[in-house]
Amino acid sequence: MNRSFFEALQKIYPDNRLLTRDVELLPYESDALTAFQTKPGAVALPVSEDEIIDTVRLCHRMKVPFVARGSGTSLSGGSLPIADGLMIGLNRLNHIKKIDPEQRIAVVEPGVVNLHITEAVRQYGLYYAPDPSSQSVCTIGGNIAFNSGGAHCLKYGMTSNHVLGMKVVLADGTVTQFGSESIEGVGIGPDLVGLFVGSEGLFGIALEITLRLMPAPQLYRTVMAAYDNLGRAGDTVSMVVASGLLPGAMEIMDRLAIKAAEASVGAGYPLDAEALLIVELEGEALQVEAEFAELRGVIEESGAFEIHEANSEDERARIWKGRKGAFSAVGRLSPDYIVQDGVVPRSRLGEALVKIGEFKAKYQLDVANVFHAGDGNLHPLILYNGREPGALEKAEALAGEILAMCVDLGGSITGEHGIGMEKREYLPTMFSPVELEIMQDLRRAIDPEEIANRGKMFPGGEAPALQMHGMHPLERQGVISRE
């Protein structure tokens, strides 16, 4: 790491908050995608907004790339460090600065853990709706960078639907405010909050985030239905939606995922089922009761061989704990696996499941399936043994086929984990060169040095955007022009 940069950093941070020894850097070299490892040049642990701003300005001035990190739970390698770059650990900025139960908002620092917000506002009968499976540990800063979803986003939308405003430091050191504290306040002009949410850390760091809170549901009714066939569970999802119901969540797990999750938490999942459908209704009590009768009817007609309702809050909590820990639980079945994240239109879910079954047979690999079925978000987990030569490549090829299928069926290469490192090469399968160039132009307008999370999202080498300078391919062909 550049010496004068390092000396300048030492002026911002006391020794114990600037990690530089190998032994301190090593544990930061991966996030939750361990296929990639890069040791950062240093890790800074700011405790105030000012320290973050000073650090970003310093990085900009000296052209040192940086990566912001919360709890390091990205499944796409989104918080993978940059070699010789700076890692800015935001986990100590974990204060909820304001709760306004009247306005139903909370103002939080980026290192606040998602679930802590709900815990802090529960006393007012409120909660923070987006619930990524890692919500007990992932931070709001990361949720914003990757527009995180979760099981209950079916009804309430992703993170972007719940961020009203934020104070940010852009990658060039500019500090500014996007959005405001009111839902109505952002109706004019482009949606800059929306632009920042999901930008995978390429624009800068959110310093203070105003989140929308929702009234906590009065009642939950959670039902598990077991099927002897994965397609039937998928069809049931369409039947539920066709009936006019909008459940809080609709999740499917297949046999392998059920086995792993059950071993992990003992939620009472049916181990003899090929597929398990979890449907949860939530909201105002009378309405939930009425809708539940209707849901029950649909499920009884759906060919489930076993239907079980959660009888207590404790049982409901276990059902969700098992589902939310399912990815990690698969570690019990296989030393290595790829967590895939893709989307297909809900109506084509059954078709997608059949195809994944075919890929499994073709590659002779096990795939455990966990879906946010309600919104068509697939999470196939491809199991392989990394010690077998060629196994990883085979698993990656299978993963690639699944992603290509998602795009073919009219879906997306990521539902909620983001592009990060993992899917950079697939970005062009979803976006046209024009769209990609617009993204790059936007990025360069905000971060001319490309120091913020360099190397993520866009295909190519270390600073991929550099390779795309100059004329756009379509410009060269004379299809478009900048005149």
Binding site: D31, G72, V330, G331, D336
Partner: protein, 416 residues
């Protein structure tokens, strides 16, 4: 995680398996007291696993990683939090043992550690050391820090020795027979606990055998990686306990969970079978009573608000969450109050108080504040370490709340 572990140590397969199971998801961060306190990846379970992996793969020096491994409380809160089932406890114990063999300690630390190994497991020696401790305390200003923290731990005076009878017969209709482990340092520090436990067990219709000459079960030595010494001392108990008993009862959380690890500790030893059989019979006091079914206690004349503080080695290591609470809930006129963040370690953690006084201090203070926020009039726990730590921190805040072992409270509930 994939790994390239090169170690040819006998324990390498267990360590490799635990590391392989870790998927680096970070779910453990939320459960880890040191991560919550220090906010650094190296001081999290995931980070420590990664560091141990780095050492075993010879990517970093063991000595470099050691301070972070030493800071682990061994509270095991990360184990139930881990969806992929990493056997963190096995990894930690194996790794500590491996490192102890080659570890170079500064002379003073080495002597302090030797003192722990030589005195803590032996109630008689501990009594003697206590007397030495009094002299030591006068010299404290002149002693290195490692000793100073040890001396601070010692109570001002020990209760008089209170020998237990070799057998306490069942009261009322006989429901079975158990043995009570009593070779622990607890017997020197708080003899009333086992006395109370024996009486409660007897009141529940059990013949309680308490063979004389018992020693420490070795858990505290296992906890600090002194494996050979742990085995050596554990063995002395095997022939002492009668065969025709339903269970071997312990009143100390760390002993219960440590003895559960005997199959690992005695792996490859000729007496593995004996050790495993012994281990299989050991049950915590509250777990056994809950399973047997408590005989209705009289309860209290005046309502008591009781906070039950979970010992990590009951809650996390043995999964005993409901059992002690169920027992307490059966006591008439006893109201249980919940301690916020109940799964958080109080910082006692075996010899942690001696090794990492600053963190132990912060955790102790935090725990006592949480307890006081719950507003109990009595605190109950199932572990002498927690009880000592809570007492110390309540005293520091000048709060005169009684801190009892669950056996003591139950005994009172039968007497009132």
């Amino acid at each position: 995680m994939r790994h390239q572990i090169k170690s040819d140590d006998a324990r390498a397969p267990e360590m490799a398996e635990a590391i392989e199971k870790c998927v680096h998801c970070g779910f453990c961060l939320a459960a880890c007291p040191t991560y919550k306190l220090l906010g650094e990846e190296m001081d999290s379970p995931r980070g420590r696993i990664y560091l141990m992996k780095g050492v075993l793969e010879e990517r970093i020096e063991a000595e470099e990683a050691q301070p972070f491994i030493d800071r682990c409380l061994g509270c095991m809160a990360c184990v139930p939090a881990c969806p992929s089932g990493v056997a963190y406890g096995d990894l930690l114990v194996s790794y500590r043992t491996l490192q102890e063999q080659s570890r170079h300690r500064p002379l003073v630390d080495g002597v302090a550690r030797r003192l722990i190994i030589e005195t803590l497991p032996y109630p008689q020696r501990f009594r003697l050391a206590m007397k030495g401790g009094k002299i030591g305390r006068m010299l404290q200003p002149f002693l290195p820090e490692a000793f100073a923290s040890m001396l601070n731990m010692l109570p001002d005076k020990l209760p008089p020795p209170a020998p237990l009878p070799p057998m306490l017969p069942a009261h009322g209709e006989r429901r079975g027979a158990v043995a009570l482990l009593s070779g622990c340092v607890q017997q020197a520090l708080a003899p009333q606990i086992n006395q109370a436990a024996a009486e409660v067990l007897s009141a529940n219709g059990l013949d309680v055998h308490i063979p004389a000459g018992q020693t420490c079960c070795g858990s505290i030595l296992l906890h600090i990686g002194a494996e050979a010494e742990a085995r050596q001392i554990a063995r002395r108990n095997f022939p002492l306990l009668p065969d025709d008993i339903d269970a071997i009862i312990t009143t100390a959380a760390g002993c219960g969970s440590g003895i559960k690890d005997y199959p690992l500790l005695f792996k490859g030893q000729t007496d593995l079978h004996t050790a495993s059989a012994f281990s299989g019979k050991v049950m915590d006091f509250s777990a056994y009573l809950a399973q047997l079914g408590l005989r209705a206690p009289k309860g209290f004349a005046v309502e008591r608000a009781v906070a039950y503080q979970d010992a990590c080695h009951l809650l996390h290591a043995q999964g005993l969450q409901n059992e002690p609470r169920d027992l307490l809930n059966q006591v008439p006129n006893l109201r249980l109050v919940d301690i916020p963040d109940a799964g958080m370690c109080c910082g006692s953690a075996g010899t942690y108080n001696l090794d990492q006084p600053a963190i132990a201090e912060a955790l102790g203070k935090q725990k006592v504040n949480a307890i006081l926020a719950a507003g109990p009039d009595t605190v109950v726990s199932g572990n002498i370490g927690c009880i000592t730590q809570l007492r110390k921190h309540l005293d520091l805040q000048r709060k005169n709340l009684p801190v009892l072992h669950i056996a003591e409270l139950l005994r009172a509930a039968y007497q009132d």
